[in-house]
Amino acid sequence: MHTDDEQLNNTSSDMGQAENMPNFDQFSHSFAPDLNRFLIWLCKDPDLAADVGQETWLRAWKSWHKLRDAKAAKQWVLTIARREFYRFLDRRRDYHMTLEDAIISNPQHFATSDESHNDDVREALWKLEDDYREPLALQVLMGHSTEEIAEIMGMKQGAVLTRLFRARKKLQAELIKDNEFIGPRSNNITPIM
């Protein structure tokens, strides 16, 4: 397992911290909501996501002075967050949060009465296998390229592309089944093969 410092080797040089590095407080406040969203989708448990987020920010803060590449900051923090979560899973192999558990324990994150048009899509996303949902969240929610996702997840880019393709295929099938409109014309949905 890589340490935070080892991860930093990919984003640092021997020079001092770059002048264009964002202030930690500014960066963390602007990025924390998105990181929290990603962690909820990753953990399927908002309470656990909040705790993993705390650990992540504390570790990021401790090593922030070593970060050299401002552009890499988000990817670096995401890598710490994923590692924290999977470290937790490694030690708690019996941990398993089902969709039902998640809804019961955290209804405020799932009852979206003010935006009910998202309910079907969210439900389909929750049902999606973790292996497919995670790269999709990194791409659609966090805005990472497939190359960056491959780095974050420690996979080959081809494997990421395959997962993303299959994720959309599964989602489309699920939403068509639920009569959710997803295409340019509701009577002319183009299946994904």
Binding site: P33, W57, R91, R92, Q108, L125, G183
Partner: protein
């Protein structure tokens, strides 16, 4: 309809990264010349719009502030921790009273985890949740407490402790029960029950906290109060009250 190789490749690439099509001249040209692929492209863009809205879960500002407050507290805290070998004699009566909880022989030092690192993790975690250090009344219902303890595989053997808060937290890669009880002084005292840490115990002393890590039947317990909190009786009460389920 029989798709040619370009259509198959287009759908494969577009299905994996619809936004990336604009950067690929070959794919862009293909969809401009192929109506089914153009429809497919539009449907993928529409799907991504919906996904983007669905992924965008509401995040409460308080949650973010709470997460980030840990770093603020940590910055301000003078976190000098010293560790001393525990006084074995002092624990003897406690072991006898809570034999089902404690490791029977304190001399079996099957150490797998340096106590300094564990204590550091515990103090760090307490700093993460500063609002729990100012609790004046319970913020967790009896049912919730029971559920947390059950998930941590612990039962409450008596009702000598006034539990103010109970939750499960990831700590050092395990799910620990983070419990806050009222101390002798009336101030909150943190009890961390860590089922996967083997330790011989140790003392926690910082400018803000004092406490002790105690070995237990399954893992370890940490009892941490304010700098001036007298924990002697509370440690015994905690060891008696929290018992591991078989």
């Amino acid at each position: 309809m029989i798709e040619n190789i370009d259509c198959i490749a287009f759908k494969r690439d577009c299905g994996a990264d619809p936004q990336g099509i604009v950067a690929n001249t070959k794919l862009l040209n293909h969809q401009m010349a192929c109506a089914p692929c153009a429809d497919f492209y539009q449907s993928m863009l529409a799907l991504d719009l919906k996904l983007s809205a669905a992924f965008d879960l509401p995040i409460h500002e308080a949650t973010v502030e709470d997460q980030l407050s840990a770093t603020q507290v940590h910055k301000q805290a003078d976190n000098v921790i010293t560790f001393k070998k525990p006084n074995m004699q002092k624990f003897k009566p406690v072991f006898a009273a809570a034999a089902s909880v404690l490791v029977a022989a304190f001399g079996i030092f099957a150490l797998q985890y340096p106590v300094g690192a564990l204590a550091d993790e515990v103090v760090e975690h307490i700093h993460h949740e500063p609002h729990l250090l100012t609790l004046t009344q319970a913020n967790t219902s009896a049912d919730e407490i029971k559920m947390v303890l059950k998930q941590a595989n612990i039962k409450l053997a008596d009702d000598s402790l006034e539990i103010l808060s109970a939750k499960l937290c990831p700590l050092d890669g395990q799910l620990a029960a983070h419990i806050v009880v009222r101390g002798e002084s009336g101030q909150p005292v943190t009890v961390m029950i860590m089922p996967e840490n083997d330790t011989r115990g140790g003392k926690i002393k910082t400018n803000r906290f004092n406490g002790r890590i105690l070995p237990a039947e399954h893992g370890a317990l940490a009892v941490v109060g304010g700098k001036k909190e007298n924990l002697d009786h509370l440690e015994t009460a905690v060891l008696n009250a929290f018992q591991w389920q078989d």
